[in-house]
Symmetry: D2
Subunit: 160 residues, 4 copies
């Protein structure tokens, strides 16, 4: 049977890039992407980043080690996304502590090739704090290797 690799993001310096397309399920009757769906997009990007850093979230969830859970999130919506738009999620780590990680995530509209880079537009920007929690939902220390993976990825300087 013909196979096809699932989409994956890339590490680009101290930034993680993840591309997605806007589908019907993402829109609402106003014709633009529903605001809560940006949080789903950002979570996809974080999961992809974790996978690229060698973190096996599924094994950790299934063996009871724990899971990441968002504890704080602030988001500004700057411009709407529409059906079929090509969106780029850019993720940078700000801090990786014992039990939580802080990140900045942005969604950018990628215009068609030929239109030129200058026209790309930021759609939304979020600051996210993600904590590591045990099966009971209580904060626990993230595995040392995971924390280190995030730390290796922190930008030396960040200009949001």
């Amino acid at each position: 049977m013909q196979r096809l690799s699932p989409p994956t993001g890339i590490l680009h310096g101290t930034e993680h890039l993840f591309a997605l397309r806007v589908y019907y399920e993402d829109t609402d009757l106003s014709g633009i992407a529903y605001h809560a769906n940006y949080l789903r997009w950002f979570e996809r990007a974080r999961s992809d980043l974790l996978r690229l850093l060698g973190v096996d979230q599924r094994a950790a969830a299934e063996d009871g080690t724990g899971t990441y859970a968002v504890s704080e999130l602030s988001i500004r919506y700057l411009a709407p996304a529409r059906l079929d738009d090509a969106v780029l999620v850019r993720t940078r780590t700000l801090q990786s502590g014992a039990a939580s990680v802080r990140l900045i995530q942005q969604a950018w509209l990628q215009l068609d090739a030929g239109t030129g880079d200058a026209d790309d537009r930021m759609l939304a920007e979020a600051q996210v704090r993600v904590g590591f929690v045990g099966p009971g939902g209580r904060p626990v220390r993230q595995p040392a290797g995971w924390r280190a993976a995030f730390q290796s990825f922190i930008a030396p300087e960040v200009s949001p």
Copy 2:
């Protein structure tokens, strides 16, 4: 055919209350409600509030007057919600301007009757700014009657 009224919230002083239950669709593999779904719950509560204030969102969307769109949102997640939990969304208006409204919304876990009020627990708290936008997605003034409806509902003092 037997009929049944859909759930509705209530106005209680300067607060809007909206109850919901946590379903399978709301949870993820960690066993708790997925963080983005709180934004859907809060939006249901805002829509219910608008309906109680006499605002016909559907007519406004269909005749091209415009729709509300979230422009800023900050949320802290304090405790997890689980399947079958009874959640109460409490909404207060902070400010109703020409083109946007600011609200505070909280999700509370309502424990079973008999367990007592003292045990109710706040699950999440959000500050939300909602703007009114025309069909093209550009900010426009909200209809005067709608703004007034929100203003009549503003708490004289707010202790978040």
Copy 3:
């Protein structure tokens, strides 16, 4: 703190009735409810039915007894639902076997009081088979009490 009961359906003869309202999150850019969301509505109704029959799905999931999972579903979409519509989900059990249950579920548009019963309109109708599965995802027998609960609820004759 003021409390408010979450919405609940009712048992009406051998039928379960569950009312909901259509929110922004349910719609897509075509202005009508997104087709996949009917499956979420039907699942809410099934969970509500289980709760009314005394089945504690959460305890069964958390203690490893198992969970219900849809194994087959056929749905016809007859008319669109729009923002703010009052939808009634009607559920009847057709068969309750050792490890699975078959149901018919319909979504009806409830028109405003005064418009009259005759105008209510069926939006969608589904046949659903739900199996009981253990933690590994393999089919297992549903608890005897649960099977009996479903059986007590089967319509003596069904005219879909």
Copy 4:
């Protein structure tokens, strides 16, 4: 700014292939992908197919030509999908009529490279009828070019 193309499917003979990964948002507390989300996956694949066939769904929705809407769907769930799974959606057109299209869509679990093709497993299979509807929700003829695009893609023989 560094850019990244969004994921896209491919046409492979008379079959369309579309790969995706299972994220947190797709799962529920039972640890597997929530059944309604397969419909979202299949819709992503159909939209991707349309895009590859040159159909501009967004322009048609925005200029009032119409949109596709699912009118019938039958799905069997054969095996569960879990977090991080690589899923392949295979789509074949069975018939392209004046106002509707019939398709078969399957979701396959793609096991890691090296594990071998023989182990790929079908997760779910659906027959879907999609109708073309005008802004009011009434069936209308699909644009001739779109119908032809679908027809050019019909398998000469189909063994589901």
